[in-house]
C-alpha cells in the first residue's frame, strides 16, 4: 500500500514538474508575428537620393523661416503634412514651380497613387496641394516624406524604388 502511494505521488510530482517546465518554456517563447517583423515605429529618413520622385508642393518661399511659419499654419490634424526643404535638393524642381523662392513645402512620393492620395488628404483638410508635372531627381538632403505611401503589393508601406522612380 505504501509503495503504491509512493508511485502515485512520484507520478504526480513528475507530471507537475513537466507542466511547470512546459509553462516556463511557453512563457519565454517569442510572440507570433503573422505580418512579419514590425516596420517602425520610427520610419527611416529615406531621401531617395538619385531617384526620380513625384513632388507634391504646398508653397514656395524666400527663406526657411518663412516656409516654416507657413507650414505651422497648415493643418493636417494630428498627421504630418508637408516638409520644409530647400528647392535645390531636387533637380528640375525650380524650373517647374514657376515662382521664385529657395524653400518649399513638399512631400515626395514614388508612385502616382501615393501622390494622389496625399493631394486628396490635403484637400480634405482644405489645404493647397499641386503635383509637379514632371518627376524631379532627388539629390539627397533633408527628409521630405518619402515612404509614406502604400506598396502596390498591399502588405505595407513602399520602402524602396519602383521601376518609374529609377533613373
Amino acid at each position: 500500500m505504501k509503495r503504491r502511494h509512493a508511485i502515485v505521488a512520484g507520478l504526480a510530482a513528475g507530471v507537475m514538474a513537466s507542466a511547470g517546465v512546459l509553462a516556463a518554456a511557453a512563457r519565454t517563447a517569442p510572440n507570433p508575428q503573422p505580418y512579419g517583423r514590425p516596420i517602425g515605429p520610427a520610419m527611416a529618413s529615406d531621401t531617395g537620393a538619385g531617384e526620380l520622385l513625384i513632388a507634391v508642393v504646398g508653397g514656395v518661399f524666400d527663406d526657411r523661416r518663412e516656409a516654416e511659419a507657413a507650414n505651422e499654419a497648415v493643418s493636417f490634424g494630428d498627421l504630418q503634412g508637408y516638409y520644409v526643404v530647400p528647392i535645390a535638393q531636387f533637380q528640375g524642381f525650380r524650373q517647374q514651380v514657376g515662382e521664385p523662392g529657395e524653400f518649399a513645402l513638399v512631400s515626395v512620393f514614388r508612385t502616382e497613387e501615393g501622390a494622389n492620395a496625399f493631394v486628396e488628404l490635403a484637400a480634405a483638410f482644405g489645404n493647397e496641394a499641386s503635383i509637379l508635372p514632371e518627376r524631379v531627381r532627388s539629390l539627397g538632403g533633408l527628409y521630405a516624406g518619402l515612404g509614406q505611401e502604400a506598396n502596390p503589393d498591399g502588405l505595407g508601406p513602399l520602402l524602396g524604388p519602383v521601376m518609374e522612380s529609377l533613373p
Binding site: A42, F76, Q80, G81, A124, A150
Partner: protein
C-alpha cells in the same frame, strides 16, 4: 359628490397622460431599433497595446486591409458628409443597417455609429472627420495609428489637437470607449479615437 367628480377627472387625465409620457420616449428611443439596428458587438478584435501588438493584430502600416472598409458620416454643424476608410477588422460586416462591405466585425459602422444615432448624440459630431492616412504623426517620424486604419478623428475643428479639454466629443466619447476605442483626450488630442493603447 363634487369632490368625487374632480377626483374622477384627475384619474382620467392621469390615465391619458401617463401612458403617453411612458410610451412616447420609448418609441423615440427605440426608433432605430424598429428600423432593425442592434448593437451587435460581433467579432471585435482585442485591443492591442504598443506598436508590436498593433502590427501583429492589424498588419504593417499602410497595408491594404487598413483602408479596406469605408463609410460616410455627416457632420452636424456644417452638413458636410465625410467619407473615410478604416481597417477591415473594425467594421463592414453586414447588419440590418450596414450593407456587406466584406468586413469582419460590426464595430465602427454599425455599433459605434448606430449607438451615437440611437442615443441622439449626432448633433455633437462636428466637421472634420478623418480615418485612414498613410502618414506619420505630426512633428514626428513615427507611424500614426491612422496609417493602420485604426484611428478616427471626429469634430477635429472644434476638439483640435493640443486642446486638453473637450467641448463636443465628450458627449459621445463613452460610446467609443465602450466599444474598445481609446480616447486621445488623455494626450491632449480630443478629436482622436484609436483602437489601441500605449502608442
Amino acid at each position: 359628490m363634487r369632490k368625487g367628480s374632480r377626483g374622477d377627472k384627475v384619474v382620467r387625465s392621469l390615465g391619458i397622460a401617463l401612458p403617453i409620457a411612458i410610451v412616447l420616449p420609448l418609441i423615440a428611443a427605440f426608433h432605430w431599433g424598429q428600423l432593425g439596428w442592434r448593437d451587435l458587438h460581433a467579432n471585435y478584435p482585442s485591443r492591442p497595446s504598443g506598436y508590436t501588438q498593433i502590427v501583429n493584430r492589424f498588419g504593417q502600416p499602410c497595408n491594404a486591409e487598413a483602408r479596406a472598409i469605408s463609410m460616410r458620416w455627416k457632420a452636424a454643424d456644417n452638413g458636410v458628409t465625410y467619407w473615410f476608410s478604416f481597417h477591415r477588422k473594425l467594421g463592414g460586416r453586414p447588419t440590418a443597417m450596414v450593407s456587406d462591405k466584406g468586413g469582419r466585425s460590426t464595430n465602427l459602422d454599425n455599433d459605434v455609429y448606430g449607438h451615437i444615432q440611437n442615443a441622439h448624440l449626432q448633433p455633437y459630431v462636428e466637421h472634420g472627420i478623418y480615418g485612414y492616412a498613410c502618414r506619420a504623426k505630426r512633428n514626428s517620424n513615427e507611424w500614426s495609428t491612422h496609417a493602420f486604419g485604426i484611428a478616427i478623428d471626429v469634430s477635429s475643428a472644434e476638439d483640435y489637437m493640443g486642446k486638453c479639454t473637450s467641448t463636443v466629443n465628450k458627449r459621445h466619447a463613452p460610446i467609443w470607449q465602450n466599444h474598445n476605442w481609446y480616447w486621445g483626450l488623455a494626450f491632449c488630442d480630443p478629436m482622436h479615437f484609436q483602437y489601441a493603447t500605449n502608442y
